[in-house]
Symmetry: C2
Subunit: 452 residues, 2 copies
């Protein structure tokens, strides 16, 4: 029936198309000529900075978000209390490799999020594996007492860099457990980054209940290349010291603001995550995403748009190491008896927009495909089946059949910065960011019109 | 008939499409996994640097290009002698504004290419115009003896930034002549750049025979904002000193290398311009373009491709201030009796590819549209009527009906860097550059197959 509706709308298209294209042009004009996104991102990155769940800066970011929503006069600005993990990197993070032959090299490293400390300086012989699979197959005696180095490269030949990330992701998540199963005393992984450079990339890792916990860190891709080269001819010892620590869970919040709809209780949720890793400034991940969504709502309000559904921007807390915010939001909205009509997430960086992906039914994909003509003047061309986002993911269980949408920017530069010290404001482009916000505002406008 | 041919090919498409898509995949794999583009661009930017026509560095770049072509074992590496203008910025370039009220501000400025010097420090009252049209309409007495400041902004609401550039371009090209007609002693223009920042953007300007020559420079967009604000309430004097100079024309070269085709005398020319403005490193403009084309030819040779036509890469000299290379190439190839079948230029930066534009007939546009399915996996989606390039432009007169193609990357960041000190290697992304080279290689492969 939605397909019929879409076909019917296409027949009506000359007039509807013209009204829509005029309104969409006004959205883009507002974003490009009078946009607030870039200055807002500067504030978040420079006046607050990195903001891992449970940290003081995360709480500061929550206060800032509330103030911003109020300054833009969103309806109904409020916070949802949640409980989040609280892990801290600590003050010491050092490492190097050395050989009897006299080679010595400092490692640029970052503890993986959730890692235990080394309890002072830890030394061990380094043993390299080219993949997690190779590590899983090795004889335990070869590894026991050593420091495992997993040097699995992201595959540069994938055009969509997220696919290359997906292919390597397990070395970060599972590396410590698999190395510990073989008796290793610590694990170092090659950073999940595409360029060969000096930046280590952190990210979450897991322990399990059956396996001893060992410290885990990522070294830069450049370090990985150097260490691997030396290991071809020499025995290397690694020395590492991490004093990161897990603290008791802490109270925190999701932050929300709305444009009330004619049907108040029917909600379209749009958001990203306010927390970020504790290195860099969380500029692309996911400062850009939360700013995109706040700016989209600001633009629609500024243009006097009166939505059919309530459009709610949600700044989720704790995507990076637990998704407590996403899970709590799905439960809370269901318990309130709200009707969640659709949700959209921006969590792939602030790069030039390519389009939108849909985790939904065939007719929802058909619906967004029918938008493609309206978006062609703005260089958006991807309207296809795909992923929504981590934060909005739990809505799938509480609202079976709900369509989830993901904003799709160009992915080429994302893994230059992801979870690295280089994810700073200076690496976000003003126009690319503004075009993302405009694209999301236009997309949400069309969804609001077309969804029942 | 070409349309018929295209339709026929589409009928044959399952097998042809499969062979083509396999070969195109191998092109992208080579570019992304074993590409030379990024390192070659680093050499050009860091070991040579900016290379304006007539300069020693331009000559060094020509030698480097020949060596590169030889190192990649291209067939028939050679140079075409040409004559180019020789203008130099000189050693002094300073300016500031001041008011009786005590305001004082240093100007970040760059002489426009071709400007005369100020002959020492020049001082004058500043008078602002918001456009060239406003200047043209003003009464001469208001301007005589003053320094004209043309503060025309690029229109940020154009999605394609080249359109915004086109709308402002005249203030740089014609500003000095129009200001001199009103009796001005110098002209300062707001830089043709989109962000508000401290970088001035240079570029070519013209004098005419009837109007006195006056010095011309661009100030940064940030300076333009500050100066304009102050002028609302104060009278400002500007002081500027430029000792740039025009020298006699100098000998130089276009540099070429080929993959010989089965039909040797039928040529597809691909290229960009080797010269660059004398600030920054000419990284996007047009280091990226020449590297794109060299890498495309390297990849096709590396994959053992035997072309039907001769594929010739041309590094044109002097696009920035005269186009002597482009003009001489068109004349020379015609005089040699060569059959130029098509030409492609890359001169819009090393950003993520969007597609290709065609300055050609309806059937040529249809032909490239028929490529779009093969390019969809690589995120290319623009296959439309549009511009070719400055260097290949003169081929239109010598080969009436020749299709000219332009490589179209994303344009959002181009005018952050264009002709500015910030156009350096660090602002080019490795994957975006490699994808451009791969796209061009694949496009040229398809053109070579499909064109008679």
């Amino acid at each position: 029936m939605k397909i019929l509706l879409v076909s019917f709308l296409l027949l009506l298209s000359p007039i509807v198309f013209c009204q829509d294209s005029t309104f969409i042009k006004s959205i883009y004009d507002e974003a490009l000529a009078r946009g607030q996104a870039y200055n807002d991102l500067r504030e978040l990155c420079k006046n607050i900075g990195p903001r891992l769940s449970g940290s003081a800066k995360a709480e500061m970011a929550i206060e800032w978000s509330e103030e911003k929503f109020n300054s833009y006069k969103f309806d109904n600005v409020f916070k949802q209390p949640i409980i989040v993990p609280h892990w801290e990197r600590g003050t010491t993070e050092s490492g190097w490799v050395s050989s009897k032959e006299g080679n010595l090299h400092k490692l640029n490293l970052l503890a993986l999020g959730g890692s235990i400390s080394t309890n002072g300086l830890m030394k061990g012989q380094l043993i390299e594996f080219s993949s997690l699979e190779e590590l899983k197959k090795v004889n335990k005696q070869k590894v026991a007492g050593k420091i495992v180095f997993i040097n699995q490269k992201m595959d540069a030949t994938f055009i969509q860099t997220f696919k290359a990330y997906g292919g390597c992701y397990a070395i970060r998540g599972e590396g410590a457990v698999e190395a510990a199963k073989k008796g290793a005393i610590a694990v170092l992984i090659r950073s999940l980054g595409l360029p060969i450079d000096e930046h280590p990339h952190t990210g979450s890792m897991r322990y399990d209940k059956e396996t001893p916990k060992i410290p885990a860190a990522a070294i830069s891709t450049l370090d990985a290349e150097i260490v691997s080269k030396w290991l071809e001819t020499e025995t290397l010892n690694a020395s590492i010291e991490l004093n990161c620590k897990e603290y008791p869970d802490a109270p925190s919040f999701n932050v929300m603001g709305e444009l009330k709809g004619k049907d108040e209780n029917s909600i379209i949720s749009i958001g990203g995550h306010l927390d970020s890793w504790d290195t860099g400034e969380g500029a692309h991940d996911d400062g850009a995403g939360v700013i995109h969504c706040m700016e989209a709502l600001r633009i629609l309000k500024e243009l006097g748009y009166k939505p059919k559904h309530t459009l709610r921007v949600v700044f989720f807390m704790n995507e990076e190491n637990g998704n407590a915010g996403g899970k709590a939001y799905a439960t809370w909205t269901k318990e309130k008896g709200e009707n969640q009509v659709a949700a959209l997430e921006s969590d792939r960086g602030g790069f030039a927009p390519r389009g939108f992906s849909c985790d939904g039914s065939e007719e929802h994909i058909q619906l967004i495909s029918s938008f493609s003509g309206l978006f062609a003047p703005y260089d958006l061309h991807v309207f296809e089946k795909g992923y929504g986002g981590v934060d909005i993911g739990p809505l799938k269980n509480t609202y079976p059949g709900i369509p989830l949408f993901g904003f799709v920017p160009d992915s080429q530069r994302y893994f230059d910065f992801h979870h690295a010290p280089s994810d700073v404001f200076e690496n976000v482009n003003e126009r690319e960011l503004a075009l993302g916000a405009a694209g999301i505002a236009a997309f949400i406008y069309l969804l609001d019109k077309e969804l029942p």
